[in-house]
Amino acid sequence: MLYVELLAQGLVQGSIYALVAVGLTLVYGLLRILHVAHAGLFTLGGYVGVLVTNATGSLLLALLVAMVTVGIVGMAIYRLCYQPILDKPPYVALIASIGLFIAMEEIYRLVFGPYGISFENPPLQDVVQMFGVTLRLGEVATAAGTLLLVGALAVFSGKTRFGTAWRATVTDPAMAESFGIDIIKVRYLNFFIGSAFAASAGVMVALLNNMVEPTMGSVPSYKALAIIVLRGLGDVRGTLVAALALGVIEAFGTIYLGKFLDRDAIAFAFLILVLMVRPQGLFGRA
């Protein structure tokens, strides 16, 4: 039973990684920018989620407000930070992104205080028994929410006209533009969806920890980068699998390897191992 419970915990953790990594994947796929500041948007999502829940008492409303607000902030970051330097070498955008991430952490500290904030009445704290596994409702909601969001994204990108345009732009921006696709609009949409996903992950982590703090994004910032490398830089389908796999490996690793390696070391040892065997990533083509 212990193994099943550990598996469940790993899947919950992996869901959160997946939500953050999807946004990074989208940005990398489209613009070849390693968007480190994405983790800052994850934190912002947590803050908006807690503040709106405390003000209105509705977690669902808070989740929606967080996703829309952070989505808009994500678009603003593209317009103000990345667009002016798109013609520069990739490391310019990377440096800008890292700078922005550090600035965001300090802005949160100045605006919301260094201590972090918590829910006044933490929602979804009840415990449920499912298939012999004990989980908090918040954990179930996290896993279910992730499946729902990633599923919706798959349908959107696969079945709608806008999704087709999007995929075409990712594959070959110049060709897509010559077919009349507004690639600027696609970029905005890209940042909106990716950022909204990060915001939803932020709200879920706030729920699981009952705390949002300025430096909350520091772990997802590099772990999500590891996941998009694992998946083989370039497509969306494998992100969920890679993120869930990492979550499960960490869950077991924390218990059985925790004496020698901490959680982050386990994640990166796994990354190095995968890249040694499959340099193109778990799902990349050689």
């Binding site: 039973m1 212990l2 419970e5 550990l6 915990q9 790993g10 919950v12 953790q13 300090e106 500290r109 205080g113 260094p114 201590y115 972090g116 918590s118 933490p122 704290q125 415990v127 004990t134 908090r136 954990e139 982590v205 699981l208 920890n209 009952n210 705390m211 703090e213 300025p214 430096t215 909350m216 520091s218 772990v219 960490e250 869950a251 077991f252 924390t254 218990i255 925790g258 004496k259 901490d262 959680r263 982050d264």
Partner: protein
């Protein structure tokens, strides 16, 4: 020389005399404290605590009539920031003494510099054993981790009578020295450590550890951490239905812990330096004055910042000079009632005081017990 020129010259001389007089009119205390970065919350409490001590001392006439000035720099709790700060405090600001309101890494780095320049340096709440080993100019007003760990063993094994214990350790010098002290004395109190887990300071989600602890079925849990790790940890332990006592330390010591863990914080016990229900006037006054100044309740870090500043102020008053060697000697002779208890130092500069046990009751920290066993709490001498 015309009269105007003479007057100008006279004015200039007087002016410079006045400004020199103003400059010489304060005694400077230096402080390195994290005001940004991950330790900013503790840094804020430590700084406000030290500021309070200085305001109180200045209201009573400062150091024998001379006002005290606090010069502080943000060290981000990082050793590489702390080194230039220590140098600047000594050579540029010419502080007479300094205190640390920071964590072990930066305090340890700065301590060596203050020692080599012969500037007395008092660490408010950093726990690493090497800090005071820097030399005879370095003191500490908080317990080393080992001492608190030993107190934790007595609390669990003897006072609570719990024998099968799980140890959850934060992977840094704070957590590891606590665990070392706990394990050193565990057997003496009949404690069997049935399993041990470690986590990183960045962890907030303890799902796998909680799952395993549940399977271990311990009588009690000894978990090191800070309020921002312990809050989520306790919440997750209790949510999983684990209701055995959780014993923490001064890192939990903040109202923020109770806010994060919510009702699940009830009954959590910690070993710490601040007794909220103390009947000692000094402690009561501190708690009231801090709340008025800061706008939030005092915690261990605030009290420690206040205590460290008070120790150096009292020593400067007693020494009656700005001679650093004389002030060092006065600090070594300290016997002072401070907000964290009655303070004196051993030969290494480690504090000798009682350990306070606090419990969360009705959403606030309260008195549970005091450990005053001098042998058990003896700090390291070398």
């Amino acid at each position: 020389m015309s009269i105007t020129k003479q007057m100008m010259a006279a004015l200039a001389i007087t002016g410079s005399l006045i400004s020199t007089a103003v400059l010489a009119d304060t005694v400077k205390i230096g402080m390195n404290v994290p005001l940004t970065g991950f330790a900013a919350a503790d840094g804020k409490s430590a700084l406000l605590g030290a500021e309070l001590a200085i305001e109180q001392a200045n209201a009573e006439g400062g150091i024998n009539g001379t006002q005290i000035e606090l010069i502080q720099y943000d060290d981000l709790a990082s050793p590489k920031e702390a080194v230039p700060i220590a140098n600047r405090l000594i050579s540029q600001d010419e502080v007479v003494v300094a205190i640390s309101g920071s964590y072990s890494g930066s305090t340890r780095a700065a301590a060596g510099i203050f020692q080599s320049e012969g500037v007395p340096y008092v660490s408010a709440y950093a726990v690493h054993p090497d800090i005071t080993k820097s030399g005879d100019y370095v003191f500490r007003t908080s317990f080393v981790g080992e001492v608190q760990g030993r107190a934790g063993a007595k609390l669990i094994g003897e006072m609570l009578g719990k024998k099968r214990v799980v140890v959850i350790t934060l992977q840094n010098d704070f957590g590891q020295s606590l665990a070392a002290g706990f394990k050193e004395k565990a057997a003496d109190y009949g404690i069997e450590i049935i399993s041990e887990y470690e986590y990183s300071i960045k962890d907030r989600q303890f799902g796998p550890i909680v799952t395993k602890v549940k399977a271990d079925q311990p009588d009690a849990i000894y978990a090191s951490g800070y309020f921002f790790t312990a809050g989520p940890l306790v919440n997750q332990l209790r949510s999983a239905g684990i209701d055995v006592p959780v014993i923490g330390q001064e890192g939990y010591d903040s109202d923020k812990f109770i806010e994060i863990a919510g009702p699940t914080s009830e009954g959590v016990l910690i070993t710490t330096s601040l007794d909220r229900d103390s009947t000692v006037a000094e402690t009561q006054e501190f708690i009231k004055a801090f709340e008025k100044k800061a706008g939030y309740n005092a915690d261990m870090v605030a009290a420690s910042g206040h205590t460290a500043a008070k120790v150096v102020i009292e020593a400067m008053r007693k020494a009656g000079t700005t001679d650093r060697a004389a002030i060092r000697d006065a600090i070594a002779q300290t016997n002072l009632v401070a907000s964290t208890g009655t303070i004196s130092f051993n030969g290494l500069g480690e504090v000798k005081k009682d350990v306070q046990i606090q419990i969360v009751k009705d959403g606030a920290w309260h008195h549970f017990a005091v450990i005053d066993d001098k042998d058990l709490l003896a700090p390291p001498e070398e």
